[in-house]
Amino acid sequence: MKSLTPLQLEHFLAHLAERYELRVPILLPDGTRTIGSPDDGPLALLGGAVPGKPTAAFFPQQETIFTAIHGRLSQAPPPPKPLFILGFTATDLECLRFIDRFFADGIRDDLYFRLRQGAVVAGISGYCGAKGTLLPPAAGNCDLELFLAGDTWLVIPYSGTGTELAKELPNAATPEEAELFKCSIPTVPDGGETLLQAASALLCADRVPDSFWEELGERCIACTGCNLACPTCTCFGVQDWRSSTGVERSRTWDSCQLDGFMREASGHNPLGSEALRSRRRIHHKLAADPRKWGEISCFRCGRCDAACPTGIGMMAVAADLVARFG
């Protein structure tokens, strides 16, 4: 474990930029934070998780699959330098771990791994949450983790690459700093996790009546923000743009909250109402994914709750569901 002053951290990042395409939490002009290039805004490590989904670094909202111009097929080359991404919280890293599994399962998604392969992912934790609150350490799921303890950033490596990078740093963490980090690692599930498990149990036991979903459906305006903000949502649609010279095929984030998502060519739609689509959104994360992947695929990042204009994000729905049927 190493330690860095804020100035040393900036030097460390500048040094990394020689070898990596750097992405770090930055402040945008209106105060919104995002993970972006250090050239696009001042470093903004404090404030907790960024509002946009961090997994967009590997799975952007739209990307070209291939172009075929005058009969010649071409695909985007891998980036000239691998990515180094700092800014995933512990829950974000759980999300990344989950979609790494998803995109590698069966037919490996080469577009995703074009960016993901070789990328270095750095977690962020410590007393850098909203208003200085503690962001729990990830203690894994990344190459290395930066933990803010007072004025010092502790660097905790996990992977081989993380260890190599940390080796370059001069100062070892003190035993007190190491202890602070260790003590900050959660040992019991937090309230959010317990809530989702309770909600999941209710869904799996089929104890939630249709009327609940109908009520929820009435509140969904189909903005799709819940899906588009969710780091574990991986659905996309494929489209072709044809021109006189050829075709460009691309993929764009899709949403299970849209009628067309499951509509069949006949016009029949097994998810033909907002109620059914809202049910699917919650069921997928809390009931279907535990069966398929062995775990709930919502890691409580809260982005869908923040993006939903009508207050029916995952945590809000789970709380309502448990309060009424638990």
Binding site: D30, T32, G52, E63, I221, C223, G260, P309, G311
Partner: protein
């Protein structure tokens, strides 16, 4: 990877977001977590607002019609020809033989410049834009009653009101981030009254949903006012101190007993009484309305009634109150503010007023400006159809699909000696043009849009325009220069805003430096003024609020034995107007891939029409094929169609009858019959 803070190009809510680009290409949208309207969210169109920008159908070069077909040309050729042919038309037929159609999709600066081009360079007041089709009734009605034809309150007032009355607005679909805020308020205890005969989403959350007959808003609102006065619910102090002409209003609504109102509206008298008590009983009540009020041959009268209802109960000039017309397009408020109107310069200064003319003429360096108001857009189409108007310069509008009675619109456009269209795609209208000028879209230029709550916000360039496309500002200034006018050279869009500020009192304190990050609501008369979220607080813009009594007129075309159903038209959540952008956005196009007609199950049964069956819709003006959507969203006897789709164009059926004062068409009511396809 770059993120550019800008304003959504769709509705007038004015959400800001970041366009995400990589290597000069847009790859997504990120919400702004600090914007006071969007607050970290967006609607489905906003989330997908990047997706049409690089579409291969974008216009990339000027086109000139040669031997009947549009052929690529250079900018030199195209601009020279535009100026030469416009001058020719004026020489042959007089200076008012041409019409400029500006655009509520373009920036304030571009609307101002097209207005200046028309008036200073071509010396005509024939300039207008699509506000004529949506809120011209509001501009006329609220100017007369309040002195200002804009939303009186801020969107954030929704959070602090007790009762919300939504009439003629499908808010969750057409202004989703406002509609959802209303839904949240209702969950927090605000009571909701909805008057709209479609069973819109808000109606499902309402305390009271009134499904009154199409075109019966005046009887409904007068009925409510009658109850309020009769039951002593009026705000006597507000009426006495802030308004004039109350006695005339009271006299005019006195005959509108709940029973008479019920007979005209098709509602129960008890519901009219309940609605009146609900609205008037609140300490703070807001009214929201939109096209359901304005798009009638008596649209201005509808607006007058709304204004009277608010004044009668003192619900104006305070937080959580107000008359709030929701402006449809991203910059329709700005288009009006900038004077892209036939009778007004920027800041609603009348062209008929000599002092205003002299001021603008002096600022623009021209000896004189024309003094008679020009033609409203809808009247200009009539004039073209009648062979009395000879050229149109259309920037960013598609009247062939958006205007009433498509047969009439086509005849008008085809009659022209010269049609110039400046747009981002080859729209149905552009396909008829003699000259087409390729324009930059919102993501490719700098400027400002003004949202529905009068918030002037910065639009920023994220990527380069395709091919040789240029910003509307560049094109307009180039035309002015070639026409021999040297008063339209600007280093950038901010210089245009500086000029606007010197000539437009309520934009007087606005400059680009002040607009970061989230804009300023006008009036903002001086550089140190913070902006005005709530209008009419101490006094109305016109002084005293004016009660304007109205008389009831039915929609011009009533259902009869030959055409037994009422057709009302509107938009869907997933598409924008004539679909030029949204139908080229994969996800949005997939959601609503084609034309449809909503039909009540009772009517469907009576006519033996099945859900999703193709059918023929026929009015006195034409017929179209579309698909039936059998739903209780509509009431029996009424059918609804969106107007987005070139195939199955609803405006082939609509009626080109205009409000006599605002010249808005009666899009909301015409008579049709349905036939099964053979």
């Amino acid at each position: 990877m770059k993120r550019t803070l800008t304003v959504c190009p769709y509705c007038g809510t004015g959400c800001m977001f970041y366009l995400v680009s990589d290597n000069g290409r847009l790859i997504g949208v990120e919400a702004s977590s600090t914007h006071p309207v969007s607050r970290g969210g967006l609607c489905v169109k906003g989330w997908n607002a990047f997706a049409f920008v690089h579409h291969p159908d974008r216009l990339t070069t000027p086109l000139i019609r040669k031997n009947g077909t549009l052929q690529a040309a250079t900018w030199d050729e195209a601009l020279e020809l535009v100026v030469e042919r416009l001058a020719q038309v004026q020489q042959r037929h007089g200076r008012d033989a041409l019409m400029f159609a500006s655009s509520a999709k373009a920036t304030n600066e571009e609307n101002y410049l097209l207005m200046k081009l028309a008036r200073a360079v071509f010396q005509t007041n024939n300039i207008d834009h699509c506000a004529r089709l949506c809120h011209s009734s509001t501009v006329t009605g609220l100017a007369e009653t309040f002195g200002s034809g804009a939303m009186t309150n801020a969107i954030s007032c929704i959070d602090e009101t007790d009762v919300i009355f939504v009439i003629g607005s499908n808010t969750t679909e057409q202004h989703p981030l406002i509609g959802s805020r209303i839904m949240n308020a209702v969950r927090s205890g605000t009571r909701l009254l909805v008057a709209d005969n479609r069973r819109i989403r808000l109606a499902r959350h309402a305390d009271l949903h009134l499904r009154h007959r199409n075109g019966s808003d005046v009887p409904l609102l007068c009925g409510m006012m009658q109850v309020i006065i009769a039951e002593g619910l009026a705000d006597r102090e507000f009426i006495a101190t802030r308004t004039e002409n109350y006695e005339a209003l009271a006299e005019s609504v006195a005959p509108w007993t709940p029973e008479r109102s019920a007979a005209e509206t098709g509602l129960e008298a008890a519901d009219i009484i309940a609605a009146a008590r609900l609205y008037a009983g609140a300490k703070r009540a807001m009214i929201f309305y939109s096209m359901g009020i304005t798009q009638h041959s008596h649209g201005v009268d509808n607006v007058r009634c709304i204004a009277s209802l608010a004044m009668l109960t003192g619900n104006i000039g305070r937080p959580g109150t107000g008359v709030n017309p929701l402006r449809g397009q991203n910059n329709v408020q700005g288009g009006c503010d900038m004077g892209a109107l036939p009778d007004l310069y920027s800041g609603y200064q009348k062209v008929s007023e000599p002092l205003h003319r002299q001021r603008f003429a002096a600022a623009w360096g021209v000896p004189a400006l024309p003094d008679t108001p020009g033609l409203p857009l809808t009247r200009a189409m009539d004039a073209a159809s009648d062979g009395k108007l000879f050229a149109m310069f259309i920037m960013g509008e598609n009247p062939l699909l958006s205007d009433p009675d498509q047969h009439h619109a086509r005849k008008a456009l085809e009659n022209l000696e010269l049609l110039v269209v400046q747009d981002i795609f080859l729209t149905e209208t552009a396909a008829l043009a003699h000259i087409v000028l390729p324009a930059a879209c919102y993501a490719e230029k700098e400027g400002t849009f003004t949202n529905t709550e009068r918030r002037v916000q910065r639009v920023r360039k994220a990527v380069e325009p395709p091919g040789e496309a240029r910003s509307d500002q560049d094109i307009i200034c180039a035309i002015a220069q070639r026409a021999g006018y040297d008063g339209m050279t600007y280093a950038d869009a901010s210089e245009v805003m500086d000029e606007i500020a010197t000539l437009t009192p309520h934009y007087g304190g606005i400059s680009y430096e002040r607009l970061d990050p989230h804009g300023i609501p006008w009036p903002c008369p001086t550089p140190d003024h913070p902006g005005t979220p709530i209008l009419h607080q101490q006094r109305f813009t016109r002084g005293q609020g004016h009660f304007s009594p109205v008389s009831h007129r039915l929609p011009q075309e009533q259902p009869d034995a030959d055409y037994p159903l009422v057709l009302t038209t509107g938009r869907t959540y997933f598409h924008w107007h004539t679909g030029t952008m949204t139908r080229r956005t994969h996800l949005l196009d997939r959601e609503e891939p084609g034309s449809f007609l909503e039909l009540h199950p009772d009517d469907a049964t009576r006519l033996s029409i099945r859900h999703r069956e193709r059918l023929l819709v026929i009015s006195r003006r034409g017929s179209i094929q579309t698909e039936a959507r059998v739903t209780s969203m509509v009431i029996p006897g009424v059918v609804f169609m969106p107007f987005h789709f070139a195939e199955g164009a609803a405006n082939r059926l609509t009626n080109n009858v205009l409000d006599p004062e605002s010249s808005i068409p009666e899009f909301k009511v015409c008579a049709v019959r349905l036939e099964k396809l053979p």
